[in-house]
């Protein structure tokens, strides 16, 4: 039927020829490097031949890559642009690139030793980037600095601008009067954007689905913005202000700023407009918030899968704020790690895998009960086990999780009288327990689970456990 026929696949030569046809000379070595950097897909070897074949579409990607390479130096930036273009890119690397870009900005806006960091950045902007195109606005540097400071504050969700600032902003923004109005009259509560210090964690905590959403928004903005500018420019005379700047420099400006734009969009997507007012209502003791967040993480993953594990979802489930989650767990990785430990703690606490006494009947007692009562904790771990195949950082969590379970199983076997059980027996016993929990999750038939468990205990007795010793 030719379901995945290799007809559309391209060998190296065809690929390089495609680039050449578009005016880009690519060497084998360069292709190799891009492949190594995961900017190009991995080829497969053609059946029965020595040729390497690239998946369909690799030619378009290479042509785009050549074009980007001529104007952008950073490979990470190129990766982000490829991602925005809709090419398949390792999403974790995009998340990292966005976080790095935004961390630099956050550090610039909020250096620890600066009295007024926003003012400092605004002054720098007013002194450099704004000069040529904005000089028409007839603003002195002081006014420009003040206007930039308002812009920056607005981007970080600070309703610093007041209505009387509107004329000032309108002059800076040129024709974008409506934007000036939004900034000057905007209510910070309508879209509480993350503060500079929170933004990196916001980006790192973004789920794959949220990143995809941000990608589409940024894509739409980059496509629509020039059109908007053109439409506006046609109606008005040679403008001053940012729209003129945008028209003139859009082609070279965005690439380096795209990660920031994407991060800003992510911040907006993940903000909580409905969040309670900022008046502190006797915050619960620190330890309790942390525990609540961890338990919420287990529940969120169990119900919505790993992609659902966002700071926002966890905050909502825990009844706390986005900021609190970011405060307790600076990175998504850290959150996952701690939540995994919590899931295991819950699951192990619920199941007395290791019996209190040498009584064989209590071996893995309460198993069915635990599978019912700690369902979320079990589901979390199974979700983790499947995800671990795709994500190396989760594989480590999974490894240590299972090592812990093997240990417990070994202790349990010893407790019921099987001295020094070998690894095979430990494997089998834990696999049986694991499989019974899975079945209990699917069937929800605790009696059947208990009956099967009794068979396991009978086997262990036949092997010498319990009264036999």
């Amino acid at each position: 039927m030719g379901v995945t026929g290799q007809a559309d696949w391209l060998d190296t030569e065809a690929l390089l020829a495609a680039a050449r046809a578009e005016g880009g000379e690519v060497t084998d070595r360069q292709l190799e490097l891009w492949r190594y950097k995961r900017l190009m897909p991995r080829p497969v070897r053609a059946e029965g031949q020595g040729r390497w074949l690239y998946p369909p579409g690799a030619d378009r990607r290479l042509v785009r890559l050549v074009a980007l390479r001529s104007s952008i130096r950073s490979l990470e930036l190129i990766r982000v642009v490829l991602w925005l273009d809709g090419f398949a890119v390792e999403i974790d690397e995009v998340r990292e690139a966005l976080a790095t870009a935004v961390r630099r900005l956050a550090e610039a806006v909020a250096p620890a030793d600066e009295e007024s960091p926003v003012d400092a950045l605004a002054a720098a902007l007013a002194a450099t980037r704004g000069r040529a195109p904005l000089s028409n606005g007839g603003m002195n540097r002081e006014a420009r600095t003040r206007a930039y400071a308002l812009l920056i504050a607005a981007a970080f969700g600070d309703p610093g601008a007041r209505r009387e600032d509107e004329p000032l902003l309108a002059r800076l923004l040129g024709e974008s009067r409506s934007a000036a109005s939004v900034i000057a009259t905007g209510d910070g509560a309508a879209l509480p954007l993350p503060r500079p210090a929170e933004l990196p964690a916001t980006v790192e905590g973004a789920s794959d689905a949220e990143l995809e959403l941000a990608r589409r928004v940024v894509r739409a903005m980059t496509l629509w913005w020039p059109l908007m500018v053109s439409l506006a420019g046609r109606e008005r005379q040679e403008g001053s202000g940012l729209s003129a700047l945008a028209r003139d420099t859009f082609e070279e400006l965005p690439a380096e700023l795209l990660p920031l734009l994407a991060a800003g969009v992510l911040g907006a997507l993940r903000s909580e407009p409905e969040a309670p007012d900022p008046t502190p209502v006797a915050p619960p003791p620190r330890g309790e918030v942390r525990r609540a967040i961890l338990e919420a993480g287990v529940t969120v993953v169990a119900r919505h899968g790993f992609d659902g594990l966002t700071y926002r979802a966890v905050a909502q489930q825990a009844g706390t704020t986005h900021g609190a989650v970011g405060y307790h767990f600076r990175t998504r990785e850290k959150l996952i790690h701690e939540v995994a430990l919590e899931a295991r703690r819950l699951a192990v606490a619920g199941t007395s895998i290791v019996p209190d006494d040498a009584d064989l009947d209590s071996f893995a007692g309460d198993l069915a009960q635990s599978a019912i009562e700690d369902l979320d904790a079990h589901l979390f771990q199974y979700e983790l086990s499947l995800q671990a195949r795709r994500r190396p950082e989760l594989a480590r969590e999974m490894q240590s999780l299972y090592e812990g379970y093997y240990d417990l199983t070994r202790q349990a076997l010893e407790k019921v009288g099987l001295v020094d059980p070998d690894e095979d027996l430990v494997r089998f016993a834990f696999a049986a327990i694991d499989g019974l929990v899975i079945r209990q999750i699917v069937d929800d038939d605790p009696e059947a689970t208990e009956a099967a468990l009794a068979e396991l205990r009978r086997m262990l007795a036949a092997l010498g456990a319990g009264d036999g010793r």
């Binding site: 979700e383 499947l386 299972y402 049986a432 694991d434």
Partner: protein, 196 residues
Amino acid sequence: MADRSDKAGNGSEAPGRLALLDAAARVVARKGLDGVSYRSVAEEAGTTAGLVFYHFGSRESLILEAAARAGRRALANALPVGDGEDLDTFLNDLSASAERDLDDHLFQYEMAFNSRRRPEVAERMAELYAFYSEETERALRSVGLTEVTPALAHLVFAAIDGLVLQQVVFDEPSRTDGGVRALRAALRALADDPLL
């Protein structure tokens, strides 16, 4: 729904139901359950989304049927097929089949772990697991065990399921073999124990 499947088998040029089910299984393996759509399955099978819809009517029933097919296939490869087998070779091929049918197994686990989110999925998965238990019971008899209760089959399949999951996650076939050896030893001890 029945007339739809009948038409599919009529030897037309378009891919039949089974080819679409296999295409769906491949999509799940690559993109997970969320990746399954009429369009993605049609692309994988080299046909149109309309045809996929025609055969299955809903995304849900497509996934459920594909899961059942993948599960039966994986199980058939893991359990002994007929006579001439005994307890010494019982599940000898488990680690090899776990490796070969990795995608089918992953599909099963995805469905099992997702079953709590959707009652109709849970129902179908429970049926599938009941089938696995029956097949395991039959296999246990075929290797010469006489006292085979449903509870024992339930347990043995759970052990198989757990061992395969560990292999799927950690990719250590030799440990699966070790677990299988311990399972055989336990079954033998059970069969030999006069008191039990």
